[in-house]
Amino acid sequence: MGSAAAGALFAGSLIVALALAYRPLGDYMHRVYTSPRHTRVERAIYRLAGISPDAEQRWGAYARAVLAFSALSILFLYGLQRLQDRLPLSLGMRPVEPALAWNTAVSFVTNTNWQAYSGESTMGHLVQTGGLAVQNFVSAAVGMAVAIALVRGFARRKAETLGNFWVDLVRGTLRVLLPIAFAAAILLVAGGAIQTFAEHGTWTTLTGGEQAFTPAAAASQEAIKDLGTNGGGVFNVNSAHPFENPTAWTNWIEIFLLTVIAFALPRTFGRMVGDDRQGYAIVAVMATIFTASLVLTNWAELSAGGTVPQAIGAAMEGRETRFGVSNSAVFASATTLTSTGAVDSFHDSYTALGGGMLIFNMLLGEVAPGGVGAGLYGMLVLAVITVFAAGLMVGRTPEYLGKRVGPREIKLASLYFLVTPVLVLTGTALAMATETGRGAMLNGGPHGFSEILYAYASASNNNGSAFAGVSVNTPFHNTTLGLCMALGRFLPIVLVLALAGSLVRQAPAPVTAGTLPTHRPQFAAMVAGVTLVLVALTYLPALALGPLAEGIR
């Protein structure tokens, strides 16, 4: 079998597996978030944390709980890094520098997992498993909780409250993320991923040299970093490291993990609003964009455009032999279309158009399928904007799922959409305008600009991958990228919850002959169109200066 055919089978089998998981996982999550019963372990957790699980929260209280939990998480993670030399299991690592510790704390709490450091030489076991991996779980659970709160805004009628954040957080962590992550971790070890709390060691190689053994709880962290669309690996080279991703089939599993929850959440949405077809419409938009991106990235990489790939004969720089070009491109697409940012190959060495496609994936706002939770709420906001645009065309008050999209709703949705472009473009402009900002580039010319654009796109969209040649461990970049990550995460969350709060109060309007049906292919196509047009209009000039200038001859 040729490489292209094998690559097509690889991508095709992933799509089939995701389709098979859609109903069971979506239905399961529906039960998790709607069941009135608490398990015994959960009751114990609520008691220890002093939470009354049956108290419902209005959108303001829900948002304040999200922000309080995230603020405390940032402080805790910052402290853990600063004090790691005085705590056990540090592997002899020094305290992490303040700007880097702030950047890393924000990065993991916002589900970004941007890594300005090299894991194997900066963080000991305690920070990795007791700090970073914890945020891999809870930041993912926060994203899912916010998405569920928005769905309740559509599903409930004339209500005031959106649920209880603490219950959503704990259930998402315990009932969804933990069991899948545990099973996946064991599977990854079966493939060869390491899982040990041993000390560093060395061995003498065949030719008499010394080579270090870098121990880590790699499998347990790999599983949740993919499943929770986090992306922060224990090693600098992330999922390209053979101890994190040892074989071609573990590579398949990892791509599956990083897309499965985000693709199943539309099912949960459909069930919660009482119309499965609404879920199918949303997942259709996601799947269409996802498939198109896989095909285009593969096409760019397999055709190996550009001087160096032509000299090499294949785009193999920065790729592992066991994965090859095509499967690496699938991973790269999936990681930038979700908010994961894990990498199994190095995007900086991608062809100009392939790398440009990865930037475009992130600029889409990561909605196809997007981060766990964040993808669904991002797509629902785009659906709201779409019904508004459609309403304008036919001169009718726009409605989505029976809820009117009035001035307040459309303002919140538009503000949501505007947050990331403002952050990405301001951040990029600021970096390009200053000597320190530009100093981060490794490559020259348009490719250097792409490195900077990629960095701010990645931080603002909470992705976390990079054109990794960029040297961003400087106070300037650690601070500005940290701000992009924090604002890019929490402003949209507050806006989404405010939108949910105003939707939940409405009584649904009755369906009439004039109601725009939102479950048909026509509507799905309109949502996809609105997504692509909005993004293209916003970012085309920036893309023209970077990847397009480099890739089009």
Binding site: V138, T207, Q211, A219, A314, E317, G318, T321, F346
Partner: protein, 291 residues
């Protein structure tokens, strides 16, 4: 606690929730996963170590350099791919090169000049020149042609800087070939091509990579590129086949025997369609040492 203001209570609750979840996901989860992994897959969980004469010589998953102290290939061993991890295959500083597809212009070292730390100026080699140089070196080692598109016969990137940047060319410099080298092409659109003077800034010129007439390279792609991790334990089947005659010669083994060992250490695609076929270099070399 009820006498505290609401925002304080909220943050105390958040802290307590965080601590409890830290115990569950940061202590119980990794320890349970470690316990299960160590019990079920002990060898793999500890790094898939391989042994020679009872001593650990590496991990089946982590590539090694098969070079001598000066970095020259040890000829009786199959060679790994180039690596950007530290000085090569250093697990404490894993890295890719991160160089882009149009990184084609070198900064030539200026003879006699020192860098910031007082060492001789080494300049900077572009990704294209690295690829060309590796191709030439592998070609010489294996006795095949190292020629590739966009490479000069002396193993650097075949790249011109043309002045002025726009309009009819008046001057052309082969930027990666330091004088007194003979430029890879005598003329460019009627203009005589010069060799490059180290230290001179050619940034204002238009970059023109020249493809040349090399066709299918004899040296495979993975032999001239650094991997993503810098620890790639594998090479392609084509690169292993290219090296087999040299290894057989050095070891005085029949070629068929070495080829058979290559076959034995080739893993095909998982389930027939995942990934690419690959040869584990450490295991292959170990098998050769033990045969």
């Amino acid at each position: 606690m009820n006498h505290l203001p609401g925002w304080v209570r909220r943050h105390v609750a958040a802290l307590r929730a965080l601590l409890v979840l830290t115990v569950v996901t940061g202590v119980v989860y990794p320890l349970a996963a470690t316990g299960a992994a160590q019990a079920l897959f002990h060898e793999k969980a500890n790094g898939s170590r391989v042994q020679k004469d009872g001593k650990t010589v590496g991990s089946a998953l982590i590539g090694q350099s098969f070079t001598d102290e000066d970095g020259n290939p040890v000829r009786k061993y199959f060679q790994s791919r180039p690596s950007a991890a530290g000085d090569g295959y250093d697990p404490t500083s894993t890295s890719a090169s991160n160089l882009g597809p149009e990184d084609v212009v070198d900064t030539l070292p200026v003879p006699g000049a020192k860098d910031g730390e007082g060492n001789p100026d080494e300049g900077r080699r572009s990704l294209l020149t690295q690829v060309c140089a590796r191709s030439k070196a592998v070609g010489e080692l294996e006795g095949v042609s190292g020629a590739r598109p966009y490479c000069t016969p002396d193993g650097v990137g075949a790249v011109l800087k043309v002045f002025p940047a726009v309009g009819a060319p008046a001057r052309a410099v082969s930027v990666n070939q330091a004088c007194p080298a003979v430029p890879f092409t005598a003329t460019y659109r009627g203009v005589k091509v010069e060799c490059a003077m180290p230290g001179e800034d050619y940034g204002a010129g238009r970059t023109v990579p020249v493809r040349g007439n090399a066709t299918r390279p004899a040296v495979p792609a993975d032999a001239v590129t650094a991997s993503g991790s810098g620890l790639d334990p594998h090479i392609s089947v084509a690169y292993a086949r290219l090296q087999a005659p040299r290894v057989a010669r050095e070891r005085g083994l029949p070629l068929a025997r070495v080829t058979a060992l290559v076959e034995a250490h080739t893993t095909g695609r998982s389930l027939g369609f995942m990934g690419e076929p690959a040869v584990n270099v450490l295991e292959l070399n170990l098998a050769l040492d033990q045969s």
